[in-house]
């Protein structure tokens, strides 16, 4: 058994033969050569910069890296005090709590809607060719483009609430964006609008990849449609779920445009997220040290989500 798995694993890749003749040797070096620019770029521009950020987070940098309040190019290493300050800031606490609420709702709702639409679309729907791009297009637009439209829509004075009032439903109330307790949900709403279609596409691809014979067999076994999906189909979408989760999680953590376009972090600080927090401390508040510290915490969060996924994914395919 053990042997068989080794053998089949090895078949997934071609080994370049070792030694002799120049052309063969070149061929065996080519793959690494081709990969090297990317590796070099990633090492410098990603990991180098991460190290840089970590270093900055230990300094009292203000306006620029390695420039503190005294100016010129002087700075001091101040250990963990940026991190201490960070966790003393109620602002950061709000950002973290908001992210937890935002990310979990965003991911769950996107997956739910995406899955539902994918399943519905998979029922030999007439006009699928029209509906699919409609569901998918929001992913193509940035919030710099749609921000104003969203703001209008959510604004009770000119948006949905007002429209309902004009249409005669005067008791209708939808002022979440103006309400500190609910504003975060309007972010979820707009974010779901943007990404759920993409998730739908991933699930649809997953559904179309399922062997029809399995479904037929399950129907022979007397499974109802509901059971068919719950017991047979949805479990098979596990890889799609996993990739959706990773993509959505990283979008959630990186969410910046969305907040800036919709609420600017308000009302008050009700919709501040770590990404906006980091940006504002680094660039507008001239507290680059604290900004870097928050970036490091964000990176650690991302790593905590992504690394296990990568590990599982890569080990399985190795």
């Amino acid at each position: 058994m053990a042997q068989s798995s080794v053998e089949t694993d090895i078949h997934t890749s071609v080994q370049a033969p070792a030694e002799p003749d120049f052309k063969t040797r070149l061929q065996s070096w080519l793959p690494k050569l081709v990969l090297s620019p990317t590796v070099a770029m990633v090492l410098l521009f990603v990991y180098g910069f991460i190290l840089f950020t970590i270093y900055v987070s230990f300094t009292d940098s203000r306006i620029l890296p390695f420039v503190n309040a005294q100016g010129a190019t002087s700075y001091d290493l101040i250990g963990l005090s940026n991190y201490e300050k960070l966790f003393r800031l109620s602002h950061w606490e709000i950002a973290i709590t908001n992210l937890a609420i935002f990310a979990s709702l965003y991911i769950i709702i996107c997956c739910a809607i995406g899955l539902m639409l994918a399943i519905f679309l998979d029922q030999k729907i007439r006009g699928e060719g029209v509906l699919r791009p409609i569901y998918l297009y929001p992913m193509a637009l940035s919030f710099i483009v749609t921000g104003t439209a969203w703001k209008w829509f959510l604004d009770p004075g000119i948006g949905l609430e007002n429209t309902m009032h004009i249409w005669g439903w005067t008791s209708f109330k939808f002022d979440w964006i103006k309400n500190g307790d609910y504003a975060i949900y309007t972010l979820v709403m707009a974010a779901v609008w943007q990404s759920s279609g993409f998730v739908m596409a991933m699930f649809l691809a997953g559904l179309r990849g399922i062997d029809n014979e399995i479904l037929k067999a399950a129907q022979m076994d007397g499974a109802s449609n509901w059971q068919l999906y719950r017991r047979i189909i949805i479990p098979q979408l596990r890889p799609a779920f996993l990739s959706a989760f990773v993509i959505l999680a990283h979008l959630a953590i990186k969410s910046y445009d969305l907040v800036v376009a919709l609420t600017g972090g308000g009302p008050g600080r009700a919709t501040e997220l770590p990404a906006t927090f980091m940006y504002s401390y680094t660039f507008t508040r001239n507290q680059m040290g604290i900004g870097a510290a928050s970036a490091v915490i964000m990176l650690m969060t991302v790593a905590a989500i992504i690394v296990p996924y990568l590990y599982a994914e890569l080990r399985e395919k190795k």
Binding site: L64, P65, K151, D155, I177, T284
Partner: protein, 417 residues
Amino acid sequence: MNIQTKLKLTVAAFALSVGAAQANDDQVEVLHWWTSGGEAAALNVLKEDLESQGIGWQDMPVAGGGGTEAMTVLRARVTSGTAPTAVQMLGFDIIDWANQGSLANLNDIAADQGWDEVVPEALQRFAKVDGQWVSAPVNVHSVNWVWANKAIFDENGIEIPTTWDELVAAMETLKAAGVTPLAQGGQPWQEATMFDSIVMATGGPEFYKAAFIDLDEEALGSDTMKEAFDRLGVMRENVDPNFSGREWNLATSMVINGDAAFQVMGDWAKGEFVNAGKVPGEDFLCFRFPGTTEQVMFNADQFAMFDQGGEVSPQQAALATAILSPNFQSAFNVVKGSVPARTDVSDEAFDACGKQGMADLAAAAGSGNLFGSMAQGHGAPAAVKNAYYDVVTAFFNGEYDSETAVVELVDAVSIAQ
């Protein structure tokens, strides 16, 4: 063949991108965030002036957030060693950049043209660092203005209030008449801008200076500060429920359209009234925030000159000269609603509000009543300013009561320093 194809693509990519902006010797590159019609038109005056001297204008507008985006871009440019020639800047940002050693020394031009005499001292604090002129001030905005709809005031028999109590009484009258008294925009800087005036009115100039310029913890945590927050709470009660996230110019148009009685906002609001065809004194009123009649809390737009390696370049000199020329000062500020940064410019071209602004500025400068606006980055450095925003907006949105707000303010300011 395939390597070749790849190479060709890469070369093509590079070829496509060649010719992108390389700073030209006979050009000034100007980073600013004045992109709306009036402002841009005013800047165009400057541009044409320079072009007539054979100096090209490389425009680099980055709008948004009152210069937030522009400052981010500036960091990237300075870090990459390609700082723009001149950058629109506010208050402490200038001092920070000067301390960092990025700004050029304009002393020769300043001495030549006598800037020291014509620019108010309080303003020089942000244009001169360690005795060196580093930027050319364009204008002086003052923030302790109230903009009111005259028709509403008249209908409800309201006189221009001059004290806090009169203001409260006016708001009660308005409320009783079913009018929204205060048009307020729902962004932290707007709430904080109004709070500047309240603190000044509540505690007076000494207190304002202690709290917002010297950042004295005792003042920040004092009962006076608590009272100021309480007054802000009163203002909050006179705002319509839909204020959150509203931009300042939408609040202004509420006053213009008669949806609200007045707005507490800097003098840039005037442009909105004028654009809507309103006449000061007839359609709308401008008056100082009650209790701050003698004071002027200001912020000033300036153009800081970035060191291009040693000497101030002739282009920079020309730009600085053009900015400080009385002609430009007058032309620009008439459009912008602010007043000239030079006190010796004729007020002929200005309207009633503008004339009053110029007179107030001169008076305040003379009597030591000219203070930098905390909310506009002329009280304390950016970190403190934003910490201040945090607390004010949290209070305004009901997160804190006044007692907590005072404690939080002391704490936030200390963390930010």
